[in-house]
């Protein structure tokens, strides 16, 4: 499996598109900048919803209203992150695909997307449910903490890709 991935990396890095990304000096810094700006939108949107879920902010607005306002930004930014991330992988395949930190980041991303999607559909189905009972309020807390931790870990992994020595 790992050998195949390594082979794929070597093939990809020899393609004309990868070689263009490698040789044009501004591609990687510019694409990383766009990647960071999209992360800014995701993290801030997530924090707005999660702090409200925890009852720490924005008591004057409903959870469902905040979710409707901010969660679409998360999904659209994730699309930008996918595209810019793909460019960065194409430019330096071995740096990412063979990197255990990158692999952990992708696994965490699946968790974060699942938590967000489940939360979003739950809120859409029953707009008041988070305020119905103490148990459900506790559920809101757990959801918010989980979401904050996983998204923060994803950002951390993203930066550490650059520092981890690997195959």
């Amino acid at each position: 499996m790992l050998a195949q991935v390594a082979q794929f990396c070597d093939w990809l890095s020899q393609t004309p598109i990868s070689m263009t990304f490698q040789s044009v000096v501004w591609v990687i810094p510019m694409v990383q900048s766009v990647h960071i700006l999209a992360i800014a939108i995701v993290m801030s949107s997530v924090i707005m919803v999660d702090l409200r879920l925890m009852g720490l902010m924005g008591h004057t607005q409903s959870i469902s209203g905040l979710a409707r306002r901010f969660l679409p930004w998360v999904w659209w930014s994730l699309l930008v992150l996918l595209v810019t991330g793909a460019v960065l992988i194409t430019a330096e395949p071995r740096r990412d695909l063979l990197n255990p930190v990158f692999q952990a980041k992708m696994a965490l991303l699946v968790v974060a997307m699942a938590v967000t999607a489940i939360f979003q559909t739950t809120v859409a189905r029953n707009m008041e449910m988070w305020d119905l009972s103490p148990q459900k309020r506790a559920g809101a807390w757990v959801t918010a903490i989980l979401s904050l931790l996983v998204w923060t870990a994803i950002v951390g992994c993203g930066r550490w890709i650059a520092y981890v020595e690997h195959g």
């Binding site: 810094p29 510019m30 960071i36 700006l37 993290m43 801030s44 924090i47 707005m48």
Partner: protein, 165 residues
């Protein structure tokens, strides 16, 4: 400026500066916290800017939105400033002579001036346009400037990592 130059030489030889430059894990760790803080700064500022530009949160009053968001912005900004200062101390002379770093600092000052002007001039009349989906042109202009400056801060910030020696 020789004063700045000798300050930077002193700074990078302090215990903190030389610890960070000598450690394998300190710089990446501080940088990770910096990234976490700065994405929150830029993202939450963008929430307010996009409201001023009447792109998003149009049915929320500007003052309520600012009151919700700006405490988060300021907390994250303090974290970003502290971690940024620590990274600077590890290689102060190199950063001082790095042009993306200098441009980033200029843009930070411009973003600050724009914010001060908005807060003390434009925002004084907020009671007249607090609920307006489309704020007055001075407010929209401040939002557009702020977005531009902060995007520039991110771009030049990232560029430092590719150019600093």
């Amino acid at each position: 400026m020789p004063v700045l130059q000798s300050f930077c030489e002193w700074l990078q030889n302090t215990a903190v500066g030389s610890f960070i430059s000598g450690s394998t894990w300190a710089f990446p760790t501080i940088e990770t916290i910096h990234v976490f803080a700065l994405v929150i700064v830029v993202g939450t500022i963008a929430i307010v800017d996009l409201r001023l530009l009447s792109v998003a949160s149009r049915n929320r009053s500007v003052s309520q939105l600012s009151n919700d968001v700006l405490p988060i912005t300021w907390s994250a900004f303090c974290l970003a400033a502290v971690t940024g200062g620590l990274m600077f101390s590890s290689k102060a002379v190199s950063y001082l002579n790095n042009w993306p770093f200098r441009l980033k600092m200029v843009l930070l000052v411009l973003a600050g001036l724009n914010m001060v002007y908005f807060h003390f001039m434009t925002y004084r009349t907020v009671h007249k346009w607090d609920d307006a989906a489309r704020p007055p042109s001075a407010a929209r202009f401040a939002g557009a400037l702020s977005l531009t400056f902060w995007i520039g801060v991110v771009v030049f910030g990232r560029w430092i990592g590719f150019t600093v020696r």
